[in-house]
Amino acid sequence: MLRMGQYLFYIGIALVAVAVLLGIVSICVLKMRYSRLHAQLKKEYGPKQSGQSHMSTDQKR
């Protein structure tokens, strides 16, 4: 018979493992989704702007 502490420990380990696994899966899925979305946004909006304004012609020309 397992004691409460062992239950907690194993449940905790299981949760951590699940979290890690799901995390890995989530990262992969989200990355895939992000890539897809980014591609779609890029198609719609063009490349993502860096947010720098051009004050001087020396930099641009």
């Binding site: 502490g5 420990f9 905790g12 979290a19 989530s26 979305l37 980014h38 909006y45 702007q49």
Partner: protein
């Protein structure tokens, strides 16, 4: 077209015409660089303020931006003003639109960002000597050049040359912000504008806006600074052919904060409105431009009529941005180009899908983080709890180990106690038992039993009880006891040790003759006569000093009156008789060369008891046995010798005086003879046997043992009275002066008989008990096989006496009546009823004992009776008061298959006839324990916290066990016969009924502690 301008710029070709001017492509002759010359010419009634134009050009020359053409110079030749600017390669977006090109949203966004970057630059007050910003005010596809590299360039600032005599503001229909149309219709603008617009064809409306007037570019700083006077510009109707942008007169700034409100001038009768274009106007124009670029058609002139872009065709964000930029109310637009640029630059971030993605990511991350944290928490918590549990278990284990250790030690102590008890070392048995009771342990009940056994509190039978044990340095060889039994002397290894029998304390140690045959005896309680190292000696034990010393002697003897002693040395053939008090030699008796029998061995292993040297009661006659089988009596006074045996075949002798008689036995391996003679050797009787006679004499009698029976011989008439009878052949016996007899066999078994030859107690010594003595209340057992000397004490529990009865009464049970007045002893054949003072009240022979099924003694409501049940069901009751028949009735035949049952508070005990009794839990019905295996459970009584179970052993002896409420044995109750009024009743079977109470363990432990290691 002039060829050169200022001899510097070679005009190459006309490339277009803007509002108020012609644009040439030129070549900088010195720099060999392409430039654009914009020639400003205004005809008609427009006049520009040259100085104002100059000032604007000077400002524009300070603009440096990738998406704004740079102005290099402003020249005048022949009254014509030229502005020199960057040559922007490419075509305007308008031209692309006219070609029917549609631009992808991404591209439009890219351009919008570039325009906004240019506007941010333009609007910011960082240009010129006095820092100020500018508003383009004419943003439209036509003014956006698409370079070959895909970037755009914002052109046509309507400067310099655009500055004519009058200042105008351009209106590009669809692109101009609604505040440009805030001019009142009364001013004519609106109606004229409507007329103009309505008259123009749709295409024209889309392509061109009429230039009415060119207006001043409003300095942003001026926007913030109240301008007292603003040159008024009259509104001219548009010249369709010349202008692209419809210009409106500027408006004064009524207040710094109201940048685009139209204010009617009070000072003028005309109803001109003044418009203050600001950054938001540019934003509107840009929004409209983007609208056109995306949708392909110009937005409605009226901002409120603008149809929103399709959110299906374009991204909702883009639609939202553009529509916000094109909000009719300037306050609802982006307030700065920075804001709009921010919106474009953060399309990705603000996209709902991206937001949703981020939200999902956040949610996922949060959930995972929560799961991880929770899991981590559980893990840590579990670990902590496991650690705590481990620590707790470890502690419990340690405690358990400690408890186990304690239990082990307790068990060892119990074993030691039992062993010590068996060996007769009562103080040690008590001490060990007490040790086992010091701390709580699982063997507590056993420890209690060991203590009660060691204390003997429930052993009320008279008898010899183990008292104290003495350990000698080596095996005992001989022993002797004082007349009252308070002292013993033991010979070991040529040393004689004198011991107090009560305490076991060693009182003295004397050097004896270096032989196992060294003799010694007590003259008095505290005076020992012994064959000392230097001669026969008398030693005062109390004063620890030698009283007198005689000549060397091996054997010694003393008269019964203690007045004379005799000593013989093994090497001598004479005996010397001394006065015991003074040691004065009274007589020297010669043996004519004969010597006492000495073993061929070195004397160590010789049996010192197989020779005779004895003085009679007054010391007047000396009996001596000689080697060679001789035995003689010597009269001390006259040394007259009476030869009893001479040259007999008997090497072994035992004998002594009893009054006027001398008894002896002589034996060899085949024969034995016994004889009694007078003091002069006259024969009184003889007997022969093949087995040796054991003989002992004292002044009270002659005691003879053969095989397993000891008798007392009456020398007068030869009658024998049995004193003791045991199972095995006797090896040794001792008759005390107080009537008790102690016998032992060669197996170490000893038995103690009372003066009626009734066995009182018995015991066993593993190492044997061939050395034995008894006097007063003490007996001592020893063996040549062990250095342990056991001292026993006669115990009589007279204070516990209930009553006495005849030991001849045959009975198997004894009961006390409910009122305690009578005691009944019953047996299937009869019963005896006596009063407490021992008077026989009734003796009844029970009829048909062979038909008897059961006898039960009943006590109820103060009455007591004996209920007898027969096999046929007949029942008869006999009164415990007087033994009379109370009643008789015929009942059902008893069922022999029925088992007896006894109930207590917790338990139900079932006692089948031929099986061990079983204890059942009354609550659960479960069997919890089996009681005594080989005995018959007769009764169970609950007394307070205890249970008293009564049994009949297989040999028919009654006994009891004191149990705790868990049915664990706490004490052995020998001879228990009844329990009444919380008292235990014992019947020793030889005439004594006694009682005691149940002792609590605390008081027993206290008793032992108070006594120290003392005995009973």
């Amino acid at each position: 077209m002039p060829k050169t301008v200022m001899e510097t710029y070679e005009l190459v070709k006309e490339i277009g015409s803007g509002g108020g001017g012609v644009v040439y492509l030129a070549n900088h002759l010195r720099l060999n660089k392409k430039v654009v010359l914009k020639k400003y010419t205004y005809t008609g009634e427009f006049q520009t303020n040259r100085e104002l134009l100059r000032r604007e050009v000077d400002v524009l020359k300070d603009l440096r931006h990738a998406y704004i053409p740079q102005v290099y110079d402003f020249v005048t030749e022949h009254g014509v003003f030229y502005a020199v600017m960057d040559y922007i390669e490419g075509e305007s977006l308008e031209k692309h639109l006219k070609k029917g090109e549609r631009f992808p949203q991404a591209q439009v966004i890219h351009w919008a960002i570039q325009v906004l970057q240019a506007l941010c630059y333009l609007h910011s007050p960082t240009h010129g000597d006095s820092k100020r910003g500018f508003v383009h005010s004419d943003i439209k596809p036509a003014n956006l050049m698409l370079r070959p590299n895909g970037d755009i360039c914002l052109i046509d600032f309507n400067i310099a040359l655009a500055i004519g005599e009058k200042s105008v503001i351009g209106i590009s229909e669809g692109y101009a912000s609604p505040e440009y149309y805030a001019l009142s219709k009364d001013a004519g603008y609106g109606s004229n504008m409507d007329t103009f617009l309505s008259s123009a064809n749709q295409q024209e409306k889309e392509d061109k806006t009429e230039l009415i007037e060119k207006t001043e570019l409003v300095d942003k700083t001026e926007l913030l600074t109240p301008i007292q006077e603003v040159p008024q510009t009259e509104i001219m109707f548009p010249n369709k052919e010349l202008a692209q942008t419809e210009l409106l007169p500027p408006t004064p700034i009524p207040s710094p904060m109201s940048r685009s409100s139209s204010v009617s001038s009070q000072s003028s009768t005309s109803t001109r409105k003044f418009i203050i274009p600001d950054a938001r106007s540019d934003i509107y124009s840009l929004g409209a431009t983007l609208y056109h670029l995306l949708s392909g058609h110009r937005p409605a002139k009226d901002a409120t009529d603008v149809v929103a872009l399709s959110a299906q065709e374009f991204s909702p964000q883009i639609v939202e941005i553009i529509m916000k930029a094109m909000a009719p109310n300037p306050d609802l637009r982006y307030q700065t180009a920075q804001e709009m640029l921010f919106a474009f630059e953060h399309l990705y971030d603000n996209d709902p899908r991206m937001k949703r993605h981020r939200r999902q990511k956040k949610i996922a991350a949060t959930m995972l983080a929560v799961t991880f944290v929770v899991g981590g928490g559980f893990t840590v918590g579990g670990l902590v709890q496991m650690e705590q549990t481990q620590a707790f278990l470890a502690q419990e284990a340690r405690q358990g180990e400690a408890a186990q250790e304690r239990a082990k030690m307790a068990l060892a102590a119990i074993r030691d106690s039992e062993a010590a008890y068996q060996e007769g070392d009562i103080p040690s048995a008590q001490r060990y038992a007490l040790e086992a009771l010091q701390e709580e342990n699982p063997y507590w009940p056993q420890a209690q039993k060991a203590l009660t056994d060691a204390l003997g509190v429930y052993d009320l039978k008279d008898g010899l009880k183990a008292h104290v044990t003495v350990e000698l340095p080596s095996e005992a060889l001989k022993l002797s006891i004082s007349p009252n039994g308070t002292r013993i002397a033991v010979l070991y290894a040529y040393r004689i040790v004198i011991i107090d029998t009560e305490t076991g304390e060693q009182l003295a140690e004397l050097s004896a003759q270096p032989t196992a045959m060294a003799g010694f005896c007590f003259l008095q309680e505290d005076i020992l006569l012994y064959a000392g190292e230097h001669g026969i000696s008398a030693y005062d034990i109390a004063h620890k000093q030698e009283i007198w010393r005689g000549q060397a002697a091996t054997w010694v003897a003393c008269s019964a009156d203690g007045k004379r002693v005799a000593g013989i040395h093994a090497a001598d053939s004479q005996a010397i008789v001394y006065d015991s008090a003074t040691g004065v030699q009274l007589q020297q008796i010669s043996f004519s060369g004969r010597k006492q029998n000495v073993s061929a061995r070195n004397g160590i292993l010789a049996d010192p008891e197989n020779s005779i040297l004895a003085l009679n009661g007054d010391g007047s006659v000396l009996a001596v046995s000689f080697e060679g089988g001789g035995l003689s009596l010597f009269h001390v006074e006259d040394q007259e010798e009476t030869i009893l045996l001479q040259n007999s075949e008997f090497p072994n002798f035992k004998g002594g005086f009893s009054g006027s008689y001398f008894a002896f036995s002589a034996w060899n391996t085949k024969d034995c003879t016994f004889a009694v003679t007078g003091l002069h050797g006259e024969s009184k009787g003889t007997s022969s046997s093949s087995t040796p006679f054991l003989l002992c004499t004292d002044e009270q009698g002659i005691y003879l043992a053969q095989n397993n029976t000891l008798v007392e011989l009456n020398p007068v008439n030869g009658e024998m009275t049995e004193l003791a009878h045991i199972s095995n052949d006797m090896e040794v016996f001792f008759k005390s002066t107080n009537g008790f007899t102690l016998v032992g066999d060669k197996h170490g078994h000893y038995a103690f008989f009372n003066d009626h030859a009734k066995l009182v107690s018995e015991g066993d010594r593993e190492k044997g008990c061939e050395l034995m003595a008894m006097a007063g209340s003490y007996a001592v057992l020893a063996s040549r096989n062990t250095p342990t000397v056991q001292i026993l004490k006669i115990k009589q529990s007279l204070e516990a006496q209930v009553c006495r009865y005849s030991p001849d009464w045959k009975h198997i049970e004894t009961r006390v009546s409910a009122d305690g007045s009578t005691v009944m002893f019953f047996h299937p054949e009869q019963f005896y009823l006596i009063s407490r003072d021992g008077n026989l009240l009734n003796q009844t022979q029970l009829p048909n004992p062979e038909q008897m099924y059961d006898q039960q003694y009943r006590r109820q409501d103060g009455n007591s009776w004996l209920e007898v049940t027969y096999q046929d069901g007949l029942q008869r009751a006999y009164s415990a008061k007087d033994g009379s028949v109370l009643w008789e009735r015929q009942g059902e035949k008893p069922d022999e298959s029925l088992e007896e049952q006894f109930e207590t508070t917790r338990w139900l005990m079932k006692a089948p006839l031929h099986e061990a009794p079983t204890v059942y839990d009354k609550k659960t019905g479960q069997a919890v324990k089996t009681l005594e295996q080989d005995s018959y459970l007769t009764y169970v009584t609950e007394v307070g916290d205890y249970l008293v179970t009564q049994y009949l052993s297989g040999q028919g002896k009654p006994y009891g066990l004191l149990l705790n409420q868990d049915c664990e044995t706490l004490a052995y109750l020998p001879d228990l016969c009844d329990v009444i009024d919380q008292a235990l009743i014992f019947d020793d079977g030889i005439g004594n009924v006694r009682k005691t109470r149940i002792y609590k363990m605390d008081e027993l432990m206290k008793e032992v502690q108070e006594k120290g290691t003392g005995g009973n």
